[in-house]
């Protein structure tokens, strides 16, 4: 039944304040959480309304809000107090009655009945909550650990817990709640485990019941029984459902400390303890300090505990420091460690034996009072400064450091340097340098530009070759034609004129090779010279090609 159940009660005459109680659902399954709202119309309560809740239910206040509405020119204000109602045990349980005084008027609302059904059998729940106590029969003053374990095989969000009511116990203020999240594999299935350890100290003897603690978490909603699919929201994410999982109640029998055989010097400590002592040195000068470190560790509460005082004697004085106490809650109980630092100043030379420190505690394991003690500490006390040891420099006698601050006798100017290369160090003196430095690259740049310009204006070698005059003498003419050809060919081939040969000229074509052959024949073999002048000139004019 998922419809809202509206329970409306008119608790007072018209035009007066009214009280309403709304429960989201009146039939719940163990572990199910629903909303419960107490509404005060046209009135206001002092504080948060409280009401009786059946044993199988639990409520948690979540907040309040106010709304106003105007209907037919009449203003109505509603103060809503919201609670989370959790079903913990099967059965029929009631909430209320609700009885409050609002603005001087008494408003009442009858109790609301809620039916809580057990979870369906046959299907293993993916979440489990267990709780145990490290000792179900502790002695008064003994520390026990309330251990809650939340195991889940599905993803859980927004996990929170409500501690149990612990009559006969108090939460130990010196130890913090320990919480640990881990995962473990059981039968091949991984599950997440949240351990919560709450240290409790037994304070009242007799049978007690530790009420259920409740773990509340947002878990994936159950699959639809018809489709078998898990419901999803508009974004395609699995819907979550808030669920409260109670732990079973735990019965405890707190035993009183035995009065028989209780020593007069009982320290009040209940637990298993060990006592040890260490000294910083075994040899100490007279009137100097040696520090003893006394460590008390065990499974009890040590906060506020102090070692029994040691009276000063003629042989030594004792100064106690503030102890340092450390505690840690474990599944086996609370482990405590107190460190006491005790400064001892020997007053006499020779061997000094510090007596052992003893404590009477009640050991729950032995169920008896026991005395724990340290070993005696033996110190060798030597001569000290107070004995007038001459080997030690004594500052108080006047034979020590006689230095003192340098006395200022006067104030004068500092001299000028004895040697200096004098020059004009003014800005004006450096002006030639300041102006000259940037001019250097400018001058170099101008020089490079001029050189490039001059290089660019060099005469065309082809034109010069072309304009070269032809000798009138026929013998010289052949030599000159050969020279012109070599010059032109070398320009074309990019080699020296002397390197021009037939092989190189093959790259310029058969006509050029033929011209070369004719020139060689005319010059050295007496070949015909007709037409050579025109052909060489054409070769030069054609810039190395025919």
């Amino acid at each position: 039944m998922s419809l809202f159940l509206l329970v409306l009660a008119l608790c007072c005459p018209a035009l007066a304040a009214k009280l309403q109680v709304q429960v989201e659902d009146d039939t719940l399954v163990v572990g199910e959480n629903v909303a419960l709202e107490v509404q005060v119309i046209d009135g206001r309560l002092d504080g948060v309304p409280e009401f009786p809740v059946g044993q199988g239910l639990r409520t948690r206040f979540r907040g309040q809000g106010t709304s106003r509405s105007i209907i037919n020119m009449k203003t109505t204000s509603v103060v809503r107090y919201s609670y989370l109602l959790s079903a913990l045990q099967p059965g029929e349980w009631t909430i209320g009655p609700f009885d409050y005084e609002v603005d001087g008027e008494r408003l009442r609302h009858p109790a609301v009945t809620i039916e809580v059904k057990a979870e369906a059998q046959g299907e293993e729940s993916p979440v489990r909550v267990t709780a145990n106590l490290s000792n179900n029969t502790p002695f008064v003053g003994e520390l026990v650990t309330y251990h809650v374990q939340f195991r889940r095989k599905v993803e859980a969000h927004n996990i929170r817990w409500t501690p149990p009511e612990t009559p006969g116990f108090i939460a130990e203020p010196s130890a913090e709640l320990a919480q640990r999240d881990r995962s473990q594999i059981e039968n091949g299935v991984e599950e997440a485990v949240l351990d919560i350890m709450l240290p409790l100290r037994a304070t009242a003897a007799g049978p007690q019941t530790v009420s259920p603690a409740v773990i509340t978490a947002d878990l994936p909603a159950k699959p639809d029984p018809r489709s078998g699919r898990r419901p999803v929201d508009v974004f395609g994410r699995y819907k979550l459902q808030s669920k409260s999982l109670p732990t079973p109640p735990i019965s405890v029998d707190v035993r009183p400390l035995p009065t028989e055989g209780r020593p007069a010097d009982f320290s009040g400590l209940v637990g298993s303890f060990e006592l040890s002592i260490d000294a910083t040195d075994t040899t100490v000068a007279r009137e100097e300090t040696v520090t003893l470190t006394v460590t008390l560790r065990g499974t009890g509460v040590l906060a506020g505990f102090a070692l029994p005082p040691v009276p000063d004697t003629a042989d030594y004085r004792v100064y106690d420091d503030t102890p340092v106490v450390e505690t840690a809650a474990t599944a086996d109980g609370l482990l405590s460690k107190a460190t006491f630092r005790r400064a001892v100043v020997p007053l006499a030379e020779g061997q000094l034996v510090l007596p052992p420190i003893g404590l009477t505690v009640f050991d729950p394991r032995e169920e008896a009072y026991t005395t724990i003690s340290t070993r005696p500490v033996v110190l060798e006390v030597t001569r000290g400064l107070a004995a007038g040891d001459d080997d030690v420099q004594r500052y108080a006698t006047g034979s020590a450091d006689q230095r003192r601050d340098v006395e200022a006798l006067g104030d004068d100017i500092l001299p000028a340097p004895g040697t200096a290369a004098i020059s004009d160090r003014t800005f004006a003196g450096a002006l030639p340098l300041i102006v000259g430095l940037p001019l250097l690259p400018l001058l170099v740049g101008i020089g490079v530009s001029v050189r490039s310009a001059v290089a660019g204006r060099q005469a065309d070698p082809w034109a010069e070759l072309e304009a070269h005059p032809m000798p009138a003498e026929p013998g010289e003419r052949i030599a000159h034609l050969s020279w012109m050809f070599r010059q032109a060919a070398s320009l074309r081939l990019g080699c020296a004129p002397a390197e021009v040969d037939r092989v190189r000229l093959h790259t310029l074509g058969p006509k050029v090779v033929a011209l070369y052959s004719d020139l060689e024949a005319a010059r050295f073999g007496g070949g015909a010279t007709g037409g050579l002048i025109d052909r060489v000139r054409a070769f030069v004019k054609g810039r190395g090609s025919l």
Binding site: A416, I422, R425, T426, I434, V435, L437, P438, V444, G445
Partner: protein, 251 residues
């Protein structure tokens, strides 16, 4: 007097180094008049060196002329801002001054490096960076680089401009004068018509805002302003001529 004449005669033909050495010798002999004359001659001979101003300030201080001594040391410190000895002497003079004035603050805190560099140093540095900015494209051209101007040119040019601006600020806006008269009235206007605003004493160093005819408009660190006769002050500009020894020692 004959000795002074002899020093002056020698100084006209001597180098700044020789004049400085001569001044030191006279100072060691306790002849501070002669030392002052030798140092001034060294300055006039082109030896505008911090060491010369240091020695000149020392000699004037020994002669009981704290105002000119302060001006000389201030000039020396402007040429060598990192010279701790001159700074110590200047501090000594300021402590002895009757006017409890803070030294003129730098014109622009932006140019923080000017506190460690003289205008000459920063000017030469600016010139070097400008040379590098111009040389870099030339080197790139000789190496046939694709881009004629690179990042190094820009960085060097920016540094050159910054240093040039700070040098100008140090030369122009940080001008100051030192009172060399025993006491001088600072007036609201030029001449005797001006209202007497406040009085400065020998050794007081004030910032110079403006010079009009033979008067200086000066300002104090607390921004009070007024006109003082130019002949009652001495410039802290190291390039300015230093008065002859006789004038500065007998204000």
């Amino acid at each position: 007097m004959l000795g002074l004449l002899a020093v002056l005669t020698v100084a006209t033909a001597a180098s700044p180094d020789a004049l400085y050495a001569s001044g030191l010798d006279h100072a060691r002999a306790g002849q501070h008049d002669e030392a002052t004359a030798a140092f001034v001659q060294a300055l006039d001979a082109g030896g505008r060196d911090p060491a010369v101003y240091h020695g000149l300030g020392n000699a004037l201080w020994r002669l009981g002329a704290p105002g000119p001594a302060t001006a000389a040391w201030r000039r020396g410190l402007r040429l060598a801002p990192r010279d701790g000895d001159i700074a110590a002497n200047l501090d000594r003079a300021r402590r002895a001054s009757r006017d409890n004035l803070e030294p003129p603050a730098p014109a622009a805190d932006l140019f923080f490096w000017q506190g460690m560099l003289s205008p000459r140093d920063s000017g030469v540095l600016a010139s070097v960076f400008l040379m590098l900015a111009l040389a870099a494209p030339l080197l790139r051209r000789l190496r046939s680089a694709q881009r004629p101007i690179g990042l190094e040119s820009g960085v060097a040019l920016v540094l050159a401009v910054l240093l040039a601006v700070s040098t100008r600020a140090a030369l122009v806006t940080e001008a100051s004068v030192v009172v060399v008269a025993d006491e001088v009235s600072v007036r609201s206007a030029l001449g005797p018509d001006g209202v007497e605003l406040f009085v400065l004493h020998e050794g007081a160093e004030v910032r110079l805002l403006e010079t009009h005819r033979d008067h200086h408009l000066v300002t104090l660190p607390d921004h009070r302003k007024g006109w003082v006769p130019a002949d009652a002050t001495l410039s802290t500009n190291p390039s300015a001529p230093f008065p002859p020894a006789g004038l500065v020692t007998a204000p």
